[in-house]
């Protein structure tokens, strides 16, 4: 009989050891690190670096809708032309030629005048995910006035270094949540979380208690923020 005793002691010991280990294991975010996702074929190889780095043009000069709508928007043809009409230096470069073909129509008549460019979407979230640019711009650029390129870079990477934009962040839910749950503890006065159950399903321990719990409960980490 003592063997059974020994064995059970051993098993219990093993189990509790495992539990303790698991309990204190670090909160490593289960998500892929930054890496270069494959390049996307575009109608013309738009030089972001030229515009954003060399010319120091603000992202939202072209992606103008970002601050007032959920989507950042692709700059309308009109905008490109608006500047490039008067930039004679590059007027004859192939990319600009193509650009003007879309605006004035091509000689062979394949492209009608004022045809919008068929850009391919690069940072294309699943259709059931609704990311709101406006909110993020408001929070980081207008309220915390951080530099635009940094803020956009959180999700879009360092576009200023690229020609054609290319995804470098995971954009997985865990990746989004790692910010939301850490940065936006959802608590009511008194520090006790109310309502928002989604809070409890998260992996990440939010700093609610650290924040003294006087944050209000319009938490951007309830599921309906992004999924509707």
């Amino acid at each position: 009989m003592h063997r059974i005793f020994h064995l059970s002691v051993f098993l219990i010991g093993l189990f509790s050891a495992a539990t303790v280990y698991a309990a204190d294991a670090s909160q490593s975010a289960p998500m892929t690190p930054d890496s270069q996702w494959p390049l996307v074929e575009q109608p013309i190889e738009f030089p972001h670096n030229r515009h954003a780095k060399d010319m120091q043009i603000d992202c939202m000069y072209c992606h103008t809708y970002a601050r007032r709508s959920a989507v950042a928007g692709i700059p309308p043809l009109q905008k490109c032309i608006g500047c490039h009409q008067s930039i004679e230096s590059v007027r004859e470069s192939p990319r600009i030629k193509t650009l003007f073909e879309y605006w004035e129509g091509s000689e062979d008549g394949k492209i009608a005048a004022k045809t919008p460019m068929p850009w391919k979407k690069v940072h294309d979230l699943p259709d059931f995910v609704r990311f709101n640019h406006e909110r993020h711009i408001k929070r980081f650029i207008e309220q915390q006035n951080r530099p635009t390129q940094e803020v956009c870079g959180y999700c879009h990477g360092d576009v200023a270094e690229l020609t054609v934009a290319r995804r470098s962040k995971a954009l997985s839910m865990g990746w989004c949540a790692s910010c939301h749950e850490k940065e936006h503890p959802v608590t009511a006065a008194g520090g006790t979380p109310i309502g928002d159950q989604a809070y409890w399903y998260g992996f990440y321990k939010s700093e609610a208690d650290a924040a003294g719990g006087d944050l209000k409960a319009h938490g951007p980490n309830d599921c309906w923020q992004c999924h509707k």
Partner: protein, 455 residues
């Protein structure tokens, strides 16, 4: 009283008889396999159709969202319990008459669990997203809902399945060794060699073996109980009339053991006939099993009565409505069928002359299982068709052929697994039968010194 087993069977004969069951199958075997395959095929076809078209083809509706899948799921889970009862519980009780029959019972446990698992899957609307319900580090960074009985279900079943597989396997090791030693070379020999883990039958091996076997048995029993209590909580933890019943956990466990025992009787009879195991699966053992079944049947009936009474004399009007609906509503025939098969039929088992009458027992055991299946259906459906909200009470909501097809298929699947098992592994535990014979002989010689002999 006559003996459970002859004490003078030669061990060689035991080996011989059992190993014979592993010999090349007769035609009948292939016929059964073919039928089973066909039945399973039907089930698969239905699932494929449902998977591609949508759950609608099962003719479930709003609010009648659960149907035969859940009912049959419970049925198979229940089926699994008797195996554990015979192998683990009776093992601890030193009821050694179980020894010739526990092996296939244990196999039954494993396979009915594997069948039950399928129903969880076919029931789910988005099978392809099933993994969402598993707690594992994922790139979405969220847990499943640990509050949901369904989640407990999933966990309990997986644990139970894995441990019963271990239990079944561990218990087989000595026998596998025997097979290894007696079979002429071939893929089987390789298999047994691999599985028997170099069993030599040395003293040390036997000691460790017994300890392990006992430990796993101890581990298994609480599991068995918890599993069906948790299945019960799927319903008891909800708020619906007819489900929100405190006595559900014991009720389900009793029901489980009940259907399990019934199934054992059925298989007992079939194996006894097919493999000529009259020597080992003797009538006295059958009688014991039958008595056990009878006892459980009465417990189940009693718990039923309790449930009805508590509803009837309680103040929960809604539950009362549901109960009345069960008796007189569209499901009345099924409900009364369940009462008849579950509570009336077993009374026959009270009579000695039937306790060993094989044809009668075969019929009865099948009826009992039918009754238990109906019971599960009667738990699930009436509550939907007659819930809290009158506006949504459904008109005649009858399961479509797709649902029936899958229920049918599940029996094919189970038979398939079981038949294969019987051919590949000894369905009677040789070494334990030997023990049994040995102890009995000692017993008959030196009277009650048998106890020490056991250890």
């Amino acid at each position: 009283m006559e003996k459970d087993i002859r004490e003078d069977i030669a061990w060689a004969k035991i080996n011989g008889d059992v190993l014979k069951s592993l010999e090349n199958p007769r035609k009948l075997y292939w016929v059964i396999i073919a039928l089973a395959l066909a039945a399973f095929g039907v089930g698969v076809a239905c699932e494929v159709y449902q998977y591609n078209t949508g759950m609608g083809v099962a003719n479930l509706d709003n609010p009648h969202v659960w149907g035969l899948y859940i009912a049959t799921f419970i049925f198979w889970i229940g089926m699994s319990h008797s195996g554990t009862l015979l192998s683990a519980i009776l093992h601890l009780m030193h009821a050694d008459w179980r020894k010739p029959i526990y092996r296939f019972a244990e196999a039954m446990t494993t396979f009915s669990l594997m069948t039950a698992g399928l129903f969880v899957l076919v029931h789910i609307g988005r099978l392809w997203q099933f993994y969402y319900s598993l707690p594992y580090p994922n790139e979405r960074g969220i847990w499943p809902n640990f509050q949901s009985p369904l989640l407990w279900d999933a966990m309990a079943i997986f644990t139970y399945l894995s441990s019963s597989v271990i239990f079944l396997y561990v218990g087989m090791i000595p026998d596998l060794a025997i097979c290894r030693d007696h079979l002429h070379p071939g893929w089987r020999k390789k298999l047994y060699t691999l599985l028997s883990l170099g069993w030599e039958g040395t003293d040390r091996q036997w000691r460790n073996f017994r300890v392990t076997y006992l430990t796993v048995a101890c581990f298994l029993i609480p599991l068995a109980v918890s599993v069906h209590s948790i299945v019960a909580s799927d319903f008891a933890m909800s708020q619906q009339p007819g489900w929100h019943v405190t006595s559900f956990a014991p009720y389900f466990v009793a029901g489980a053991l009940y259907s399990g025992c019934a199934a054992i009787i059925t298989l007992f009879i079939i194996l006894r006939y097919v493999f000529k195991f009259e020597e080992y699966m003797t009538l006295p053992i059958l009688k014991k099993t039958v008595r056990l079944t009878f006892a459980i049947a009465m417990v189940w009936t009693y718990l039923n009565a309790i449930e009805f009474a508590s509803v009837w004399y309680g103040h929960d009007v809604a539950s009362k409505d549901v109960l009345i609906q069960k008796m007189v509503g569209p499901y009345a025939y099924a409900w009364w069928g369940m009462i008849f098969c579950g509570s009336i039929v077993p009374l026959v088992l009270a009579f000695k002359r039937f306790q060993t009458n094989i044809p009668v027992l075969l019929v009865i055991s099948l009826l009992l299982n039918l009754g238990m299946w109906l019971e599960r259906w009667m738990i699930v459906s009436p509550t939907f068709s007659h819930g809290y909200y009158p506006w949504t009470w459904d008109h005649d909501q009858w399961p479509s052929w797709v649902q029936w097809g899958m229920v049918f298929g599940s029996f094919g699947w189970f038979t398939l697994l079981f038949m294969i098992f019987c051919k590949v592994f000894p369905s009677v535990s040789m070494y334990e039968v030997k023990e049994m014979v040995y102890h009995r002989s000692l017993h008959s010689k030196k009277g009650d010194t048998a106890e020490q002999g056991a250890h």
